[in-house]
Each structure stands twice: as structure tokens, then as C-alpha cells.
Amino acid sequence: MTHAVEGTLQAYLDEEMAPADRSALESHLLRCDACREQLEDLLRLSSEVHAALSETDLVAGTAMALQQVRLRHGALGGAPAAASGAARREAAARWTAFGRPLRLTPASLLKAAALAVLVAGAASLAVPGSPLFAWLRDALQRPDAAAPAPQPVATPEPRLTPAPEQPAAPPPAGFITPMDGTIQIRVIGVAPGAEIQVRYTNEAGAGVFPSGDADPRYRTRPGVIEVSGLNSGGVLIELPRNVPRASIEVNGELYLLKAGDGWDLRGPVQEQDAGGVTFRART
């Protein structure tokens, strides 16, 4: 008996085999304990890696990300470039388009169930006409097996085209929500004497609104937002008054700290009232 090689078994698990080859392998698996054990081992490895990787995942924050994309696109002029046929063909050597709708994995759970049946009931599965055999065959059926693969189409990296005339748009804003009851805002590269206005709001999250000639760049992670590129402009920060902990740092210096009910103002205050505080960046 010729055993299946590991790469073939992996391709089977990943639904990468041609139908005829898959059928032949399944017939072999019904008769070969060693190959079934190896298949089980590969499935176990796949599940362990998937679980380990999933543990590191963060929530993507899609809604806010979409807003950021729109804002960044608007800040760059906003005009979509028409893709010419010549430009698309020209960049064929740069990369290979895949040109096929992608499926999400894993079918591993289904495979695991099918494999459990395969291992436990090999004898009954050996009968092609048995209901169990038919179920297994249906369960492992590749979707869209008959669909022809579309021809790959090379698509180049986009090329910047001159933006059309547009009225000046305000600099894009940044937003952040608390992480474990904490918001940290870091403002970098603030010009001496620029205004940093902080207003307390009843919103759930904080907003950062640069002004003037700012060309802001944001970096965020859960509970933290860093903004740079203010040029000579100032910034308005809307901070939730009910957030348990918050901090605002300007050019590496702590200007505002909130822990509990009190606001600890450590930066150079220009004016303050119940609604907020305005700092003027140190010269």
C-alpha cells in the first residue's frame, strides 16, 4: 500500500485537491489507519495554531477605521483615479492577481466531524453504498468545484493624479473610546504658543479636532490616540467628563490627568471654566 504524503493530506484538509484525486485519497483513507492518524495529527496541528493565533487578535474597530479612511482620503484631495487599461496591463510584472473569490477557512470543524466518523466507523464507511459513505462524501464536497477560475488580471498600484479644485476641508478628526475605563491622548509636535482646548462632554469617547494648517496623522490602539502633524495649528480635544481615568500629554509633557472625579491640570492653563480648560503650549 502506498501511503499519502504529508503535503497531499494537508492539501486535502485545505480543500486544494482536484475531485478525482480527492476521491482516490478518501478511498485510501478508508483502508489505511496510518494515513488517517496522520490526517488527524495535521488537523490537530491546524486547530492548535488557529486557536493560538486567535488568542492574539484584537477587535478591528471597523466603524472608526472606515471613518479614518474617509477622512484620510478627503485630506488627500479625494478624487478617485480612473484605472486605464494600459496602466493595468503595464504593471503585470509587479505582482500576480489572484482573481478568484476567496473563501474563509476553516472547513476544519466540518473536516473534524467527518474525520471522527471516518476513524470510528471505517468498516461501515468501506461500503460505497452505505448512507454514512454518502454523507461523508457530501460533507467533504468542495464548493464551486466546477466553477472555472477567472483569468488573472494584473492591477497596478494606484498612481496619484492631480486633485481637482476643491474647497478647503477642515483637517480630519480622530476619535478614541476608553479601554478599561482609561483614555490617553498624546499630542506631538505642537507649535509653541498654540492653543490646546479641552472641552468636557457627555460622549462615551474622546475626539481630537486639529485646526488651522494641521495635516494630522493619527495612531491608535485601544484607549490610546496619538496625533502629530499639527504644524502651526491648535487642537480641540473633547474628553468624556465621566471617564474614570484620562490623560493628555503635549510634546511629551503631562498637561491633564483625571483619576476619579478630579481634574489635575498640570499644563500651562490659559483659561478654564466648568466646561473645560484651554492650555497654551509652552514656548
Binding site: E6, G61, L66, L104, T105, E157, R245, L257
Partner: protein, 165 residues
């Protein structure tokens, strides 16, 4: 092309892939968003969008690797301004597992990382082969070996931690 719908569908996968690849949420966000900003400037047929944004993102990661390292050092050396509340044991353990996974990914070769992470995102062998630079027929074998290396490294690290504790 309904951009918003495509974004909702693809962004989580791209962010997840980039975060796993780089280990840096800031970079993952930045690169993923930049890829979609570029897509807004280059409308494509819907079935070409996913491979396109992933390829653009991978190119950005490669091109920006040094800048990412500098920015990461900048952020991680900035002082913590708000004293964090102590974490319960369960969260400490989870943080340690996450660190272990990141350490394993960092120890894998770039090829093994690409193989595993692209497979996780549902790319076909032909697509993975094109990115990694191997024959499609060898992808199955390479993936099986990469999976085994990952698990061996991860388990070896756990044994070391147990020996230390």
C-alpha cells in the same frame, strides 16, 4: 463597487492578518487603512479587491519595516501616564499566552509566517505560492511543516516556563 460594504467585509480580515504578521496594532491599523485609502483612488472590480488590498498592505509592511520599528520604539518608551489598575490573574495568563504566540511567530521564518497567516485568511494555495515564491504543488508540504514548527516552538516555550516556575 460598494466601498463601505467591501470595507466592512474585508477590513477585519486584513487588520487581523496584519496584526498577526507585525505584532503591532498601530502598524496594522495604519497599513490596513492606507491600503483602503489607495483603493478609494483606484476603483476595481469587486472580485479583485481582496487580493489587491492584501498585496498593497504586504508591500507597505515590507517597505515600512524600518519606520515601523522606529515608531514602535517611540511609543513603547513613552512613559505610562495613567497608572493601570492591577490585572486579575486570568488576564495576566492571557497576556502571557499572547506574548508566547508572538515570540513563536517572531522565531518562524518570514516564509513560514506568510504561509500560516495567509492560510488562516483563506487564501488559496496558488495565491500563497505567488506571494511566498514557491510552486503551488509544494504549498501543502510547506504548510504542514510550518504548522508543526509553530506547535513545537510553542510547546517548547511552555515547557521552559513550567521549568522556571
Amino acid at each position: 463597487m460598494d466601498f463601505d460594504a467591501l470595507f466592512q467585509k474585508l477590513y477585519p480580515s486584513l487588520f487581523r492578518y496584519l496584526h498577526r504578521l507585525t505584532g503591532d496594532a498601530d502598524t496594522a491599523e495604519d497599513v490596513a487603512q492606507e491600503a483602503f485609502v489607495r483603493l478609494l483612488r483606484q476603483p476595481l472590480p469587486e472580485d479583485e479587491v481582496r487580493p489587491w488590498v492584501f498585496t498593497v498592505a504586504m508591500n507597505l509592511v515590507r517597505d515600512g519595516a524600518r519606520k515601523t520599528e522606529r515608531r514602535h520604539r517611540l511609543l513603547t518608551t513613552a512613559p505610562a501616564l495613567v497608572t493601570p489598575t492591577p490585572l486579575p490573574d486570568e488576564r495576566v495568563e492571557r497576556a502571557e499566552r499572547i506574548e508566547a504566540v508572538r515570540a513563536v511567530l517572531d522565531r518562524l521564518s518570514e516564509r513560514d509566517r506568510q504561509l500560516l497567516l495567509m492560510r488562516e485568511e483563506g487564501f488559496k494555495y496558488e495565491e500563497i505560492a505567488a506571494v511566498v515564491g514557491v510552486a503551488p504543488a509544494s504549498v501543502g508540504t510547506l504548510i504542514a511543516r510550518a504548522l508543526r514548527r509553530f506547535v513545537d516552538l510553542y510547546n517548547a516555550r511552555e515547557i521552559t516556563d513550567d521549568a522556571r516556575s
